[in-house]
């Protein structure tokens, strides 16, 4: 039971990693718990604004399940 977490742009710069696989038990099983997990693990992320996508859809809350891909996305800068 694990999920993949991806970090992009300024967030990846703050965490120092772009991707990691973590056990669901470790992060809790909701997006809210995952957020706290990351903020505890990577203090610098707390200063940055970001959105969360679960399996490539923006999501603000809800539960996580085995195999989910969760992404931390800083503000978009396309174009």
């Amino acid at each position: 039971m694990s999920i993949t977490i991806k970090y992009f742009g300024a967030i990846a710069e703050a965490t120092g990693v772009t991707e990691e696989k973590v056990a669901l038990e470790e992060v809790g099983n909701s997006i809210e718990e995952l957020r706290s997990y990351c903020l505890t693990k990577y203090g610098d992320v707390g200063d940055l604004s970001f959105q969360v996508a679960v399996n490539q859809s923006l999501t603000t809350s809800g539960s996580l399940k085995d195999g989910d891909e969760v992404a931390f996305l800083p503000p978009f800068a396309g174009g």
Partner: protein
Amino acid sequence: MKNKEPKKVFMAGPIPPEKIAKSIANHQSKTNIGAHSIFLGQVRADEIDGKKVNAIEYSAYEEMAEKAFHEIRESAFSQFDMTCCHIYHSLGTVKAGELCLFVFTSSAHRKVAIEACNYLVEEIKAKVPVFGKELFEDESHQWKVNQ
């Protein structure tokens, strides 16, 4: 002719002006087109705290971004009577003065082409997970945020 297949939007490096000429030339056989609208994003050499932006290094959550580009195109086709619609966005380093975004819409009539193009540009800026690292001349950087 609606092209509903997902097409790859991202390309490595800046968009060359010749690509735009080629896209336009490719549409001259479609004689039901009366108007094309084109938007081009160009990297600005902004000066921030006395330091000049040399280039932007673009990265993206690629799978999600290509999906978002595809949904935006589909949504545009459902709202506007377009003949064609093409989007290209750079990844990697694009120097100041070079092009990073190319949006191209065609229709029988000008209003449709123009409105569809504007719609696409706004949607792309708001919904596609692309990130831009502004590289300054002194090798420091900051992260760009769309307004």
